[in-house]
C-alpha cells in the first residue's frame, strides 16, 4: 500500500511538472521574455507576442486546467478505483 501511494505521488508530480512547464512558457515565456521577438510575426491585426500577453496565454491556461482534470481523474481511477457517485464525472 505504501509503495502504491509513492508511485501515485510520483506520477502526480510528473503530470504537474509537465503542465507547469507549459504554463511558464505560455505566460512568462511567450508573453514576457520572448514577447518582443515574437512581435515580428503577425496574426491578422495582432503581433504574436502582444497576442500571447493579452489573449493567448489565458486560453492556454484554460486548456491546461482541463488537461489536468482529465489526467488526474485517470490517475485516480488507476490507483483508487472508479468514482462511483455520478455528479462528478468530467
Amino acid at each position: 500500500m505504501k509503495s502504491n501511494q509513492d508511485s501515485y505521488w510520483k506520477e502526480n508530480i510528473k503530470i504537474l511538472s509537465f503542465l507547469l512547464v507549459i504554463w511558464f512558457l505560455a505566460s512568462f515565456g511567450f508573453g514576457i521574455l520572448f514577447s518582443d521577438w515574437l512581435d515580428q510575426f503577425r496574426l491578422g491585426g495582432f503581433k504574436i507576442g502582444f497576442w500571447f500577453a493579452q489573449q493567448g496565454s489565458i486560453y492556454i491556461f484554460i486548456i491546461l486546467i482541463f488537461t489536468y482534470i482529465h489526467l488526474m481523474n485517470k490517475l485516480d481511477n488507476k490507483y483508487f478505483g472508479e468514482d462511483k457517485s455520478k455528479d462528478s464525472d468530467t
Binding site: 501511494q5 508573453g31 491585426g45 491546461l64 468514482d83
Partner: protein
Amino acid sequence: MNVTQLTYLFVGLSFALYIAIAFWSRARSTNDFYVAGKGVNPIANGMATAADWMSAASFISMAGLIAFLGKDGSVYLMGWTGGYVVLALLLAPYLRKFGRFTVPDFIGERFYSKTARLVAVICLIFVSFTYVAGQMRGVGIVFSRFLEVDINLGVIIGMIIVFFYAVLGGMKGITYTQVAQYCVLIFAYLVPAIFISILITGNPIPQLGFGDTMVGTNTYLLDKLDLVSIDLGFTAYTENIKSKIDIFCITAALMFGTAGLPHVIVRFFTVPKVRDARKSAGYALIFIAILYTTAPAVAAFAKINFIDSIQSKSYESSPEWFKNWEDIGLIAWKDKNADGIIQYSAGNAINGRPQYLPERGASGERILENQSVNSNTNEVYIDRDIMVLANPEIAKLPAWVIALVAAGGLAAALSTAAGLLLVISSSISHDLLKKTFRPNISEKQELFYARCAAAVAIFIAGLFGIYPPAFVAQVVAFAFGLAASTFFPVLFMGIFSKRLNKEGAIAGMLSGLIFTLSYIIYFKFLNTQLNNPEFWFLSISPEGIGFVGMLINFIVAITVSTYTEPPPEGVIKMVEDIRKP
C-alpha cells in the same frame, strides 16, 4: 425613462434579488456559515468563485488601466488568470482533502502550532482589509456617478446590503448570491463590449474585433492605436514601457498572490469532493476568462473612442459625459494655451489630483487650483478608474446599457467584499476564538460570534469606503504582493514537503510579510519622491516586490527548517493523507 431612473430600476431589482436569495439560503450551522455545508455544485462554485474573484478592480478599473498602460497592462491579464493554474494544480485539491474551515486552520494543523495559526490570522486580516478597501471605493464611485447620491450614503447602502446576506447567510448565502452576481456582472460587461466592437470593427466578438480592421478602412485597430499613441507622444500601444524584470515580477506576484488569497482558497472548501475542487477551478477560470479576454479589447476600443471624441474639440462642443465626470471630479481640463480647445497628449496635465475652485472658466469648465505641468502640452486629467463606466457613454450607447453597467459594477464590488468579509469573520470566530482563546464555546455561540465579527468587519470596510485610500486597482495590487509573500510558500510546502516544520513556517511568513510590507510602505507612503526605477531594488516596483518577498519566505522557511527538529509523526501522516484524493 432617463439614465438615472433606469439605473435605479436595474440596481433596485438586482439588490432585491440578492436579498431574496439571502433569505432563502440562511445559514443554520457553522458548517453552513463557513463552507456552505460542503454541498455546492462544482459549476455553481466555479461561478461563485469567478464573482468572488472579479472585484471592482477587475470590472471597473482594469480595462481603464490597460487602456493607459498598453502592452504593460498584460501583467493584470496574465497574473490574475495564470494564478488559477497554480491554484488548481498545487493547492486547491489538497486543501479540499484536508477538509476544514479556513486557511489559518490548515496552517495551524499542518504546523502543529497556535503561533503559526495566529501569524496566519494576522496576515489574512492584512491582506483582506487591503483588498476590501478597494471594493468600497468602487461602490462609492458607482453610486455617486449613476445614482446621484452622496458617495458616503452610497457606501452605507452597500454596507447594509452586504450585511444582510453575509451576516444572515454566511458562506451559503454568499455563494448563491455570488452566482446571481456573476450573471449580472458578466452580462453587464459583455453587452457594451459587443456593441462597441460592432461600432468600431464590425465584428460582434470583441476578442476578434480587437485584432480586426476598423470599419470602412483597411487599417487594423491596433496599428491605428500605435500610430495615434506615438503621435500624442506616448509609447506605441503594443510595446512595453516597464522593464522586463519588473513586468516579470509583477506578473509573478499577482499569480502567486492569486493562489494564496484566502478568500479564493476557501471557495474550494465548499465542494463535496477532491475531484470537484479540481473541476471547480477549471470552470472558475472559464468564467473569469470570459471577462479577462474581453477587457483588453474594451481597453483598446475605449482608448480610440476617448481620443477621437475629445481631441481638438472645443470645450463647449465636448460631449456630455466629459462634463458629467468633470462635475464629480474624475476628469479635469486645464486650458494651458487659452484657446478653448481640448488638447490631449502624453504627460500629466496638472500636479496631483484635481482641486477645483468654485468659479467657472471662459469656456464653462471648472477652474483648477492645481499648478499646470508646463513641460508638456497635455490639458486633460482623467482618472483611469472611469474608463469602463464612461465607455458606453463615450460610444453613445443607449441609456439601458449605461444603467446595466452600473448594476454590474455594484455586483462585482459587493460580491468580492462579501467574500472577503466572510474570511475575516471566520478567521476571527473560528481561529481566534474557538481554536485559540475560547475553546469551550458551543457551536451556537461560535455561529453567533461569527455573525458579530462579520458585522464589525463590514463596519470597518465601510469606513475605508468613506475615507478611501488611493486607486482601486493599485491598492488591490498590494494585497496580492502580501498574499504571495506570506501564504503561498507555506501552503505549497505544507503539502509538497514533509520536512517543513513550524519554526520554518512561522519565520518564513513573518519575513515575507515584513519585507514586502516595509518595501511598499517605504516607497508608497514614506518616500514617494524616491518611487522610481532608479531607487528600486533591482528596478522592481512595489507592485512586483511580493515576488521577491515570496522567494525570501521560501529561503528563510527552508533554512530554518533544516536546522530545527523535523515535524512529529502525526503531521507526516496527515501530509500523506492529504496527498491521497
